[in-house]
């Protein structure tokens, strides 16, 4: 047992914090939000040079071949710095390609991703357990020379800046849900691909809606071609990619929540009322304690979940789906509590545009709403504990 980060992992975290503080401080985040511009290309390029865009990509394709715990050190700092842009979209889609795509396609796509020259997004049918347009609903109609893709999804992270998008679609049957999702790689500017940027609460993530009206995909861009084209075969990449995204979102929450807590504790020690620092009053003090409770619980869950993904299931003894569901549920509730208490302790100043706290509030709410609800993760927790679905 060793619940500490390796020296290397500590260094990654430290480097990431310094990098984001220097290259993208909150003033730049604000500018990216108001311009809806995402991350500056120069910063993206430097992240590529640091190897972060290829963090999980195998070394033979120009990546770093790191593990989830290594990666988490970077993503936590992105959450702390509210890094704008579609990093998570590129991360998830590249992971899908790494896990499922034919060698040739990986060779074509991944090195340029790692070099920062190609941005990706991932659009899933059924994200967060919703099989409507909000959760995504895509299907692939087989043709002689490939597939035609149809369907839509309201909000896809990073899509507004993506060059290509990996779509998880049902094979053949528009009404079908849940099982048999397979992956396809589409060019963002291909015919039949409609991308509409959205005005969002958190304006950094480059979210856009995706509408596919018969977008053509040749067979060599069907990632799961080798797995067979039966509608019952689920892409083996899907579960690990979903787990990766859940993990990344949880670490983003951890970094943000930790920072809001620090801001709040500092303020509570300085601001006085009735002759004493407000931190001397238990109404404030216990809110701070509850923030610590929330943050440390999230840290405990998230570091555990990263480890679960890094080792084989027989070694962790844990169901990755349960570990990630608990971690995401904790992330949603912890970040929410930290934002509410942090705002209440700061007072009215925290509700103004000029205060940084509200930026974190917007990111936290988007994390809670856009990628699977608390209820979705709770149902997964119950399912993993032997409960039948709440169907009655």
């Amino acid at each position: 047992m060793d619940l500490t980060y390796s020296e290397e992992q500590q260094l990654i975290g430290q480097q990431a914090r310094e990098f984001f503080e220097r290259e993208c401080p909150l003033e730049r985040v604000r500018k990216a939000w108001s311009d809806r511009a995402g991350l500056e290309p120069a910063v993206w390029k430097r992240m590529a040079e640091l190897g972060w865009l290829g963090a999980l990509i195998p070394e033979r394709f120009g990546g770093q071949g790191l593990g989830h715990t290594d990666l988490s050190r970077i993503v936590e700092e992105m959450g702390r710095g509210l890094l704008p842009g579609g990093y998570l979209g590129t991360l998830a889609a590249a992971r899908a390609l790494t896990l499922a795509a034919p060698e040739a396609l990986q060779r074509e796509v991944l090195p340029s991703v790692a070099r920062g020259e190609r941005r990706l997004a991932l659009a899933r049918s059924g994200e967060g357990g919703r099989f409507d347009r909000l959760g995504g609903r895509f299907y692939a109609d087989e043709q002689d020379d490939g597939y035609l893709l149809f369907g839509e999804k309201l909000a896809v992270l990073g899509l507004a800046e993506a060059d290509q998008v990996v779509v998880a679609a049902v094979l053949g049957l528009p009404k079908r849900i849940a099982e048999g999702l397979q992956l396809f790689l589409l060019d963002a500017d291909a015919p039949g691909v409609e991308i509409t940027p959205l005005a969002t609460l958190e304006s950094g993530w480059q979210q856009a809606s995706l509408r596919l009206t018969g977008a053509r995909v040749p067979r060599d861009r069907h990632l799961d071609a080798a797995a067979g084209n039966s509608p019952d075969v689920q892409s083996p990449a899907l579960a690990p990619v979903e787990a990766l995204l859940d993990l990344a979102l949880a670490f983003d929450a951890l970094g943000g929540a930790q920072r809001v807590m620090e801001m709040t504790v500092e303020y509570a020690g300085l601001r006085t009322a009735f002759g004493h620092p407000i931190g001397t009053y238990q109404a404030v003090k216990h809110k701070c304690a509850d923030m610590l409770f929330a943050v440390e619980n999230l840290r405990a869950a998230a570091t555990w979940a990263a480890w679960v993904l890094d080792v084989p299931p027989e070694q962790s003894g844990a169901d990755p789906a349960l570990a990630l569901a608990m971690t995401r549920a904790t992330a949603i509730e912890s970040y929410d509590l930290v934002i509410r208490h942090g705002t209440q302790v700061h007072g009215a100043i925290a509700v103004t545009e000029e205060h940084d706290l509200q930026l974190f509030a917007k990111r936290a709410k988007t994390l809670a709403l856009s990628f699977g609800s608390l209820a979705h993760y709770q149902e997964r927790i119950l399912a993993a504990n032997g409960f039948a679905p709440d169907g009655r």
């Binding site: 967060g128 357990g129 919703r130 409507d132 347009r133 909000l134 959760g135 309201l154 909000a155 509409t196 940027p197 959205l198 005005a199 969002t200 609460l201 958190e202 809606s209 006085t272 009322a273 009735f274 002759g275 004493h276 001397t280 009053y281 109404a283 404030v284 509410r340 705002t343 209440q344 007072g347 009215a348 925290a350 509700v351 103004t352 545009e353 000029e354 205060h355 509200q358 509030a361 917007k362 709410k365 988007t366 809670a368 709403l369 856009s370 609800s373 608390l374 209820a375 979705h376 709770q378 149902e379 709440d390 169907g391």
Partner: protein, 408 residues
């Protein structure tokens, strides 16, 4: 025990409703474009307020001599319900009518009353409240704005914050330290400041949702004539407290929240009533049932306040309960609505699926302020525990009743 209005009061309500039916079509139209330019806002406000004043449906509790209708708290409540909830005109003088002008009414000289009250009723002047300061929120009595004698008047210098609608205001009611030797709530005086005078600077503070109600106000050697002091010199704290006590029973703020609450409930019903099962809908239903009950409790506590005010007694604990109820209920309901909406709740626009042009996320952002403005939840709980239950004050602290900035 009788929760109904008297036949006379019900007749008054019908009378108000009849006026609304007839005059609503002639009311100024809402803006086509947002944000609406300030002069348009002011125009709409003045026009509608003038229509109300002409019909004796504005400031109905004030004496007729000052433009009111000489009626009681129940009639005031009826007018709030029937007219204020319509959302016809911007509420840019809500603080004026709620705090500033009642202070003039209760503590001002006859000349001040005749000068300031009638034009305000007619919508000609807008007022703002210059109380809170950057370092003095809940602990208002620690305020630092100085008033120094200057000939027959005073010179005011300092910085005020959280001043609602200062960017529209003609006058500000300003609490400042007139006796530098006075500590805390001693040595303060209440001044009427002309917001157009030299030395007054207004800087907007935007909410996190982009709206602009609040401002910072900088006072730099602003000259205030001697007859602009409300009440006795150095008695500003007592003036503020007395007004606050009197007005606490008739604020009716919770009534103004009804439309917002209804929009949220309707949006939730639309989603939960849909065909598809939503993960978590069982919990959402339980929380909504709790909120619906809270809304009813808010109305009932509001009636208890009204009943107290109508019978002329001192305000009881109910006004603090009403504040806790509307603030926490509106905040929780705003958050619940987003959860029920799901991914679409995080969107402000860009897609036809976004309901009501992004109202719900903006409402959620704004609702964070509910538990801070008009008395923070922490201060209110102290008040309930100390004043009603008689528990001792916090160790090392002497609590003072802080006049609070009002809510939207």
């Amino acid at each position: 025990m009788d929760f109904n209005l008297s036949p006379e009061q019900q007749a008054y309500r019908e009378q108000v409703r009849a006026w609304v039916r007839e005059n609503l079509p002639r009311a100024p139209k809402p803006p086509r474009r947002r944000p609406e330019p300030p002069e348009k806002v002011r125009d709409r406000y003045s026009t509608w307020q003038r229509m109300r004043a002409d019909a004796k449906l504005a400031c109905v509790m004030w004496p007729e001599a000052y433009g009111g209708a000489g009626l009681g708290p129940v009639e005031h409540y009826i007018v709030s319900e029937e007219i204020d909830t319509l959302g016809v005109a911007p509420t840019i003088n809500v603080v004026g009518f709620g705090i500033c002008l009642p202070t003039v009414l209760h503590a001002g000289s006859e000349a001040q009353k005749r000068t300031y009250l009638p034009p305000a009723v007619r919508g000609e002047h807008v007022w703002c409240q210059l109380f809170s300061e950057p370092g003095s929120g809940s602990d208002l009595a620690s305020l630092k704005t100085r008033a120094e004698p200057d000939g027959d008047g005073w010179r005011l210098s300092g910085q005020k914050i959280w001043t609602s609608f200062a960017h529209h205001a003609d006058y500000g009611l300003c609490l400042a330290r007139s006796d530098p030797r006075g500590e805390k709530h001693k040595g303060l005086s209440m001044f009427i400041v002309n917001m157009k005078d030299p030395g007054v600077t207004v800087r907007p503070i935007r909410f996190s949702n982009g709206e602009h109600d609040f401002n910072e106000v900088f006072l730099d050697n602003v000259h205030v004539p001697g007859d602009h002091v409300v009440g006795a010199v150095h008695q500003g704290w007592q003036v503020a407290m007395a007004t606050l006590m009197l007005e606490r029973g008739t604020s009716n703020i919770h009534v103004l929240f009804r439309p917002w609450i209804q929009r949220c409930v309707t949006a939730i019903r639309d989603v939960l009533g849909g065909e598809a099962a939503l993960p978590g809908q069982g919990e959402y239903r339980a929380r909504l049932a709790r909120m619906l009950t809270r809304v009813r409790l808010m109305e009932l506590q509001g009636l208890r306040v009204l009943n107290g005010a109508a019978s002329g007694g001192p305000p009881g604990p109910e006004s603090s309960l009403v504040k806790l109820l509307w603030s926490e209920t509106n905040q929780e309901l705003a958050a619940l609505t987003l959860e029920v909406l799901g991914p679409v709740g995080a969107l402000l626009g860009g897609d036809e699926a976004v309901p009501e042009d992004g109202f719900f996320p903006r409402n959620w952002l704004r609702s964070f302020g509910n538990t801070l403005e008009a008395g923070s939840s922490e201060i209110l709980r102290n008040i309930l525990a100390e004043r009603i239950l008689g528990l001792p004050k916090d160790a090392g602290r002497a609590i003072a009743a802080a006049p609070q900035p009002p809510a939207r």
